[in-house]
């Protein structure tokens, strides 16, 4: 006996095996990201006023990435439709655009990550806080670009992404001897990495996990598109189903980003 319903649908459920499998898997993914979104809400509701940053991320970049993913979603579904219409060449073309979009998304994302890892908050001995991008780290001074001094009281009143944009940005040079020291003698300056506050923590965790999904999905799509595409000749129906399954995963990845973008960038 061979395993039935690998490509033809079962009578009573109307589904082939992998379709059931992928939806079950996506259900568990909903719970995975659902738990992280719940954590996001809980941490945000519980944050001290002013501790939750608004407008920390670059909205045009986030928007570009949103559009990149939407484009990749339409090309995935068009690629599948092309197979259904027996047009293999068009499928190849569409899926290659999908893969380029995945690369573009990851490229932009890593630029944004790099941007946060070089973005520093520096506590000075006189109580002032400088905030900007570290461009020079010399023996006795540091130089921050696009920097400003933070007014904690004013920052506590910020509730929207657009408000902080009104701050004037300049280049600031700080003497290391002016920087406050932490316990243990380290300079009290910190980049906006995941350790910085609960916002950056959940930002890096959510987008990092999402990026892993993008990578995983792209790898699957690449293998079906390249090395495994010979199956189109031997078993076109099953091959088309596989493309549909990988597409369902890809759309889910897009779906997660549709919620991530406003939640992390805009609110």
């Amino acid at each position: 006996m061979d395993i039935p319903y690998t490509s033809e649908p079962r009578q009573d459920t109307g589904l082939f095996n992998a379709k059931v499998g992928i939806w079950l898997f996506l259900a568990s993914e909903v719970m995975l990201f659902g738990a992280l979104f719940s954590s996001y809400i809980l941490l945000r509701v519980g944050a001290e006023p002013g501790e939750w940053p608004h407008g920390l991320l670059n909205i045009p970049l986030g928007m570009t990435n949103t559009i990149v993913l939407i484009v990749s979603s339409i090309t995935v579904v068009m690629a599948w439709a092309s197979l259904k219409m027996k047009n293999f060449a068009r499928f190849k073309l569409f899926q290659s655009i999908t893969l380029l979009c995945a690369l573009a998304f990851l490229g932009i994302k890593s630029y944004e990550y790099h941007d946060k890892f070089t973005h520093y908050e520096v506590w000075l001995k006189d109580g002032k806080i400088a905030d900007g991008h570290l461009v020079e780290n010399n023996a006795d001074t540091i130089v921050l670009h696009h920097a400003h001094y933070v007014d904690k009281e004013a920052a506590a009143k910020v509730t929207h992404a657009w408000q902080e944009r009104e701050i004037k940005e300049e280049e600031i040079t700080i003497k290391k001897s002016d920087i406050r020291l932490r316990e243990g003698g380290k300079l009290d300056m910190e980049s906006y990495g995941p350790w910085h506050n609960t916002y950056t923590a959940i930002y890096f965790t959510l987008t990092g996990l999402h990026a892993l999904h993008v990578i995983g999905g792209a790898i699957v799509i690449f293998f079906l598109w390249g090395p495994l595409s010979g199956m189109w000749k031997t078993d076109p129906e099953r091959y088309t189903n596989r493309i549909e399954i990988s597409g369902l995963f890809w759309h889910f990845v897009d779906l997660v980003w549709i919620f991530l973008f406003p939640v992390l960038y805009l609110l």
């Binding site: 395993i3 079950l24 001290e48």
Partner: protein, 598 residues
């Protein structure tokens, strides 16, 4: 198709002739055959169960005779874990405690109850040739092994394994300065992945690969229990995976997901704060409570199969069983915070969880009642599997009923974190689930190997296990109600009335004395497993050969295959014509009518 032809245990080779012959590695190690994977899971899980039990036997020494060298294994502990003179220190005790829980739950019972029995039995019972996704099945087992190895390796890293209990509450889990917790989290991520792959596979198999005529209401109850269990694993594990990822970030990237503002612990260094310890508990128990039903439902399924078979009667209230299992599945997702009354969540939410907790006891009682009523008026065959199955009923009953005071907010305040809790959930899981699993092993062993396990030694194993299990856990109720807290390496000696004369609430000499009796009973329970271990391996080659492919004269489809079932399971695709428990049908020639009999 009927049950007589393929009596020879290894006669199955002939059926495989048309398949290409696989080498040793492909056949036994990297197998994609659900039966081999089931057996792999089973043996690995049994080894982990025994290992977890060994940890507990050593801990029981520390509880009964604190600060004295452990006999027999003391030198080994000194060599391997650096235990000074073979004495179990607080740190080592905490490692053992955390790993005992983790290993028993995630590496022992879940793999045995869900993955091993599910893999071996479910496709056979629904009349499928294999699981829906055989290669994912293999990946699931491999992820399980990797997770297990990571857990074991963590004992040997500097500072040793995780020490924050199997619940790994933050900030304690993050504050322990060693990397044991990091290993624990990474191991858990592998185990969770394994369970998720398994759950997807099981559900897809049950939904898609039922044989023609095998409608939902003709599924054996064991399949239903696995179906509900699959859903619990599928939907409850991801939040724990999310929590594990966040705790990993806390540990590795120095985030503060679970670390509140103002927390100052030197091992943590500089932290931003702003996190919520409560969040961990929510996400952990969102898995943790459905997990309880993951542990118990497969055992209920096994017990139901065996009771039907050995009472030679249809199960009383098959539909009630199915709907109760489904109700349990749904409700188990909204009762989790009854583990968290002591966190001060607030009275309204406590009341909500208290109410749902009381409601969920109803379907559990219905299942137990149906199984009890099934015994009524039967001429019962008291063989080894049946004895274990019968003992399951009162043992699970004790475990379940003693859970009610823990489900109530006010009585829980007193009993929380005491030995009462330990006794309660061990009654559910140890003489409950594990007895169910033993029953399953004795019951399906002939289908796996073509030979019976020794009936006599099976009964020795049963009676000794039953007696010692109760000697271990019954006194713990008293200890807990007297206020003895769990997780104390000295068994509460510091709080004994002898230590602090006149102190209010000191533990009385009798309560303290139970520590020794419990420990001795625990070691005897260890000895009682020796007949089982020998019986299990000896019978593979030397057990009594089965008389037919259907030695128990059962109705379900797994007995209508050659023994052991060949690759692809059935000689020709089975067709199902009747319900799962048609025993003693009036007018039938025999007292059982298999599901595939027209």
């Amino acid at each position: 198709m009927q049950a007589t032809t393929h009596a020879l245990p290894h006669g199955a080779v002939a059926h495989e002739a048309h398949h290409e012959e696989l080498g040793f590695w492909r056949k036994y190690v990297f197998s994609t055959d659900h039966k081999i994977i089931g057996i792999q899971y089973g043996i690995t899980a049994l080894i982990f169960l025994f290992f977890g039990f060994c940890l507990m036997m050593m801990m029981r020494w520390s509880i009964a005779y604190p600060n004295t060298p452990v006999p027999v294994v003391g030198p080994l502990l000194e060599k391997v874990l650096g235990a000074d003179k073979g004495v179990i220190s607080g740190e080592v005790y905490n490692q053992f405690g955390a790993m005992h829980g983790t290993i028993m739950v995630f590496l022992g019972i879940v793999p045995l109850a869900f993955a091993a029995f599910g893999n071996f039995v479910v496709p056979l019972q629904i009349g499928a040739p294999d699981m829906a996704f055989p290669r994912i099945n293999m990946a699931s087992y491999q992820a399980f092994v990797v997770g297990g190895i990571i857990m074991l390796v963590s004992f040997f890293i500097p500072g040793g394994a995780a020490q924050a209990g199997w619940t790994s509450y933050s900030p304690l889990a993050s504050a322990v300065a060693t990397q044991g917790q990091t290993f624990w989290i990474i191991g858990m991520v592998f185990l969770i992945t394994s369970s998720l792959l398994g759950a997807v596979n099981f559900l897809a198999t049950i939904i898609q690969l039922r044989a023609p005529g095998m409608t939902w209401m003709r599924l054996p109850f064991f399949v239903w229990s696995q179906f509900v269990t699959g859903f619990l694993l599928l939907l409850a594990f991801p939040p724990l995976e999310a929590a594990a990822i966040m705790q990993l970030m806390d540990k590795v990237a120095h985030t503060s997901f679970f670390l509140p503002s103002g927390l100052q612990i030197s091992s943590l260094g500089h932290i931003s704060g702003g996190g919520s310890p409560l969040l961990w508990q929510h996400l952990f128990w969102f898995l943790g409570h459905p997990e309880v039903y993951v542990l118990i439902l497969p055992a209920m399924g096994i017990v139901c199969e065996i009771i039907a078979n050995n009472t030679r009667k249809p199960i009383w209230g098959y539909k009630s069983l199915v709907y109760s299992a489904l109700t349990i599945g749904f409700l188990s997702f909204i009762v989790w915070a009854h583990h968290m009354y002591m966190t001060g969540m607030g009275t309204k939410i406590s009341t909500f969880f208290q109410t749902t907790t009381m409601i969920i006891s109803i379907p559990s009682v219905i299942i137990l009642t149906c199984l009890f009523l099934s015994l009524w008026g039967a001429s019962i065959r008291f063989n080894a599997p049946m004895l274990f199955a019968l003992a399951f009923l009162p043992m699970f009953g004790i475990g379940g009923l003693t859970g009610l005071p823990l489900g109530f907010n006010y009585s829980d305040l007193h009993l929380h974190d005491t030995y009462y809790v330990i006794a309660h959930f061990h009654y559910v899981v140890a003489p409950g689930t594990i007895f169910g699993l033993f029953a399953g092993i004795y019951y399906w062993y002939p289908k796996m190997t073509g030979r019976h396990m020794s009936e006599f030694w099976g009964k020795v194993h049963f009676w000794t296990s039953l007696i010692f299990m109760n000697l271990i856990f019954q006194p713990m109720f008293a200890q807990g109600m007297a206020g003895m807290l769990r997780r104390m390496a000295d068994g509460g000696a510091n709080y004994s009335a002898a230590q602090v004369p006149g102190a209010i609430g000191g533990l009385s000499p009798m309560i303290m004395h139970f520590n020794q009796t419990i420990s001795i009973a625990a070691w005897c329970l260890g000895l009682a497993q020796i007949p089982f271990i020998i019986n299990f391996f000896w019978s593979i080659k030397h057990g009594k050969p089965i008389a037919s492919d259907n030695p128990w004269e059962a109705t379900t489809l797994e007995w209508q295959t050659p023994t052991p079932p060949p690759h692809g399971n059935f000689e020709k695709a089975p067709e199902v014509h009747r319900g799962p428990y048609e025993y003693s049908v009036p007018g039938a020639a025999r007292d059982f009518t298999p599901q595939n009999e027209a």
